[in-house]
């Protein structure tokens, strides 16, 4: 429709603009609808991914838990192996001590050397510088060697000495014993016959108490030291009986 001048009327222009606007709105609406659909699709995809990640996280947590358990088991095993190693090392050291003691005692037939070895074992392996090594013959108790002890003070009257000698049983005194009382009275015997006695009064200051190895050393000394001293005495008597050619 035109007005008299041939130009589109105001109404025509408004209608045309409105139609353009409506087309524009519809196009925009379509774009928004597509964008909405894309967003929905993206949201669904992300939800799926999130679920997968959550699932993965759960699996990782389970794996982490399993790893922690494995590590704990390995750590425990490691500790057990270390403890076992220390135990074997200790056992090895104890055997070495016993071997050295036995070797030293039986390495000679000279009385002085045996007594020296016996002293070294008591000082270095048991850990005492306060002891006496006694011999018994015809009911007499004689101090053959001593460290840190006045020989004259060691007699049958020394507490627990006679009891240990008569019973042939190792005596170990309490930590809170009377001053001067022995800590250890170790009868030395061959075939049940008493040949001597090791009397330990105190341990070295830094050694608080006797250890399991010391008891094994006492067992070994009780038989081996006495045998070594007995063999030495036999050798001496033999030499005296048989004149040198």
């Amino acid at each position: 429709m035109s007005n008299e001048s041939g130009l589109p009327s105001y109404v025509d222009r408004v209608r045309e603009d409105t139609q353009k606007y409506i087309r524009h709105l519809m196009a925009e609406n379509e774009q928004l609808r597509v964008a909405g659909a894309q967003l929905e699709s993206e949201t669904a995809r992300l939800r799926q991914e999130l679920a997968a990640v959550r699932q993965e996280l759960v699996q990782h947590r389970e794996a982490e838990h399993e790893l922690a358990q494995t590590m704990e088991r390995i750590r425990t095993e490691g500790e057990q192996y270390l403890a076992r190693y220390a135990e074997v090392e200790m056992h090895n050291a104890n055997l070495a001590n016993l071997y050295v003691t036995s070797y030293q005692l039986h390495g000679t037939l000279k009385r002085e050397a045996i007594l020296q070895s016996l002293q070294e074992v008591i000082v270095n392996l048991i850990g005492s510088e306060d002891f006496a090594i006694c011999e018994t013959e015809d009911g007499a108790l004689t101090v053959a060697a001593s460290v840190g002890v006045e020989p004259a003070t060691v007699t049958w009257a020394t507490p627990h000495v006679r009891t240990a000698a008569e019973s042939r049983i190792l005596y170990i005194g309490p930590a809170d014993r009377e001053p001067g009382d022995p800590l250890v009275c170790l009868p030395l015997q061959v075939d049940g016959q008493l040949v001597g006695m090791v009397i330990i009064f105190n341990l070295l200051a830094h050694k608080a108490q006797l250890e399991p190895l010391d008891h094994e050393l006492f067992d070994l000394l009780a038989s081996h030291a006495s045998t070594a001293l007995y063999c030495c005495a036999l050798q001496q008597r033999l030499q005296e009986a048989v004149p040198a050619s």
């Binding site: 220390a86 090392e89 200790m90 090895n92 050291a93 070495a96 001590n97 071997y99 050295v100 003691t101 070797y103 030293q104 070895s117 070294e120 074992v121 000082v123 270095n124 392996l125 048991i126 850990g127 510088e129 070295l204 200051a205 830094h206 050694k207």
Partner: protein
């Protein structure tokens, strides 16, 4: 592969030398022995050990004096010295450190403790 280290064992007691040998033969060490302080100084000068394990109470020359003599020798003055003592009292330990020893172990010797100290001073 690390070179074998040489250790000088000094003690007048055969029992303790034997014990030390039994402990140390488990490691890659060449062992040399001396039975008194004088011999220790002489052996240290000729053998040039990587470490010295020294008893304190010995005939002819005690461990403290031997330690002082060794510290006075240029060629061996910096050799680590570990004293082996029956007495762990403070005064005895102080005397050891004054004479120049690096460390000490007490008798009866604990093999594990001794090996740990040796390895530490030998940089193993």
């Amino acid at each position: 592969m690390s070179a074998r280290k040489k250790i000088l064992l000094v003690d007048d007691s055969n029992t303790i030398l034997m014990m030390e040998r039994m402990i140390l033969t488990k490691g890659p060490y060449d062992l040399v022995t001396a039975s008194n302080g004088e011999e220790a100084v002489a052996k240290a000068l000729t053998e040039l050990p990587d470490l010295i394990l020294m008893d304190v109470v010995m005939p002819k020359m005690n461990g403290f004096e031997a330690c002082r003599r060794i510290r006075g020798e240029e060629s061996i003055g910096s050799t680590p010295i570990i004293m082996v003592t029956t007495r762990g009292e403070v005064q005895n330990v102080e005397t050891g450190f004054e004479s120049g020893c690096n460390d000490y172990v007490t008798k009866p010797i604990n093999g594990t403790e001794l090996m740990a100290k040796l390895k530490s001073y030998l940089g193993e």
